[in-house]
Symmetry: none
């Protein structure tokens, strides 16, 4: 249930004045701050006077700021904790398709993480920590997310590489792998036959395979992996939903960052600063 305040702001956004837009943007961005911050503080953060802030809420139809605060509290008490299913009335408000989509995605996410074992994640993080090199692999539809994963982890540690970055270079890349290296595999059914050959090679060269896949592939993948993190990927159409997968790899990266601690943090800072310099050329 989006707060009435937010809905009201969006509805009237086009007609707001410059200062009011600053406020609107701030509030939409940081919706929770309405609950915790005073109008004066909000005005300061938005860079307008408190007079403008007071008027803003009046123009939105509230008698005073107190009314805003009370409404926000009331809405929080109704919707907290963040709900896992979408009520029918919610669906009406946002259009059937969006509501149904949201509900399915929430379900995927919730189930994925409720079933996720923190010891497995920690184990995966540890393997990655100990690995001389990390190879990321995603074939077909999973190539995109594999690239994202590589980027995520290469901010946190050295030697994170995409496996088979050009089609056909499997052999070369695989030849470079060593024992204790981690193969971070993202794969959803239908698993292409090519995967089988890569995994059998991985086995012989003693790669530690960390697999992120869907629930139904869990057992199949467990046979060839050290750690498997299964996700719920149910969808209406267009193949599996990557939403929970993307969230799971993110959690893995966060866990790794926590595990690796300072060194990961330092690296992230360095990478950022390099990027900044780089940007100034483009």
């Amino acid at each position: 249930m989006a707060s009435r305040l937010v809905l009201r702001i969006q509805e009237r956004y086009a007609k707001l004045t410059a200062g009011e837009k600053k406020l609107a943007q701030l509030i939409l961005d940081r919706q929770d701050d309405i609950l915790t911050h005073s109008a004066t503080e909000i005005a300061e953060m938005a860079g307008v006077s408190k007079a403008t802030a007071a008027r803003f809420f009046q123009h939105l139809g509230y008698a005073d700021f107190n009314e805003v605060k009370l409404q926000a509290r009331e809405e929080r008490n109704q919707s907290e904790p963040y709900e896992l299913s979408v009520t029918n009335s919610d669906q009406m408000a946002m259009g059937r398709a969006i509501g149904a989509h949201l509900e399915l995605e929430l379900k995927n996410l919730t189930r994925t993480f409720e079933e996720m074992r923190s010891d497995k994640i920690r184990e995966a993080a540890e393997l990655i920590d100990k690995a001389p090199r990390v190879w990321v692999l995603g074939l077909g539809a999973e190539e995109g997310i594999a690239r994202y994963v590589r980027l995520l982890f290469s901010r946190l540690r050295h030697s994170v590489m995409l496996l088979g970055i050009n089609q056909g270079s499997w052999a070369e890349d695989l030849a470079m792998t060593g024992p204790k290296d981690v193969l971070l595999l993202i794969t959803l059914p239908p698993h292409p036959p090519l995967l089988k050959s890569i995994l059998s090679y991985a086995k012989t060269s003693r790669l530690n395979v960390v697999t992120i896949t869907d629930r139904t592939s869990l057992f199949e993948m467990q046979r060839v992996s050290k750690v498997v993190l299964p996700c719920h990927v149910t969808s209406f159409a267009l193949g599996a939903s990557l939403t929970a997968v993307s969230s799971a790899v993110r959690l893995l990266a966060l866990t790794y960052a926590a595990h690796a601690g300072k060194s990961a943090q330092q690296r992230a800072e360095i990478v950022d600063s390099i990027k900044e310099e780089f940007d100034s050329f483009n």
Copy 2:
């Protein structure tokens, strides 16, 4: 989420006076209320005078109630942050990490779709339907998801291309674009400077820009886009969360598929059958 306030109360609970125990109980029960309620309100709820409440916080070692409020805010920002740095990820105790992660992601998803306007999605789907060609663009961390988007849509229609697939080919690719083509842009802050130039070119060549971005970039992107679909990307660390973005592009694809109807479905079937044949060779 054990706040210092709560710890302090628990530690000293035995030695508290009657009225202070009432306060303590209330605060332990409803920890979030410290963030949202005034000391006066808390006193009332606990059934004590505000004098007692003021003294209570002083006895706990705070200079005044304001210090309590600020500390509570700070602690909330650590477990529910807005900013995009790797700092603090190590402060998360792993057990709770999954729950906290899930909660944050659910919030991102829910807010994203509650605020999403179905007319905008439909408009985007329509633009894509009418476009002779669709160019997908994601720079930096968004390149991965851009590839995924291209794949999704290329199952549904012809002529879906990744823009600047090799760095440096911007110019060539952009030269090939025509009016009514759609540029499907996925971008999150910090937006690289290169984006500006690409967008200004897109404008002159009358590309219809459909942008998927985060809430904070909404207004900035609205100026250069036909349709903007904003997502909530709040995260603990490691930059923006792509979860809601990935879900949003999926919804867009689903909407497009529904819009395009039969033809998209047929195409998907053909693509699938080609892939099957292909697989049998690998």
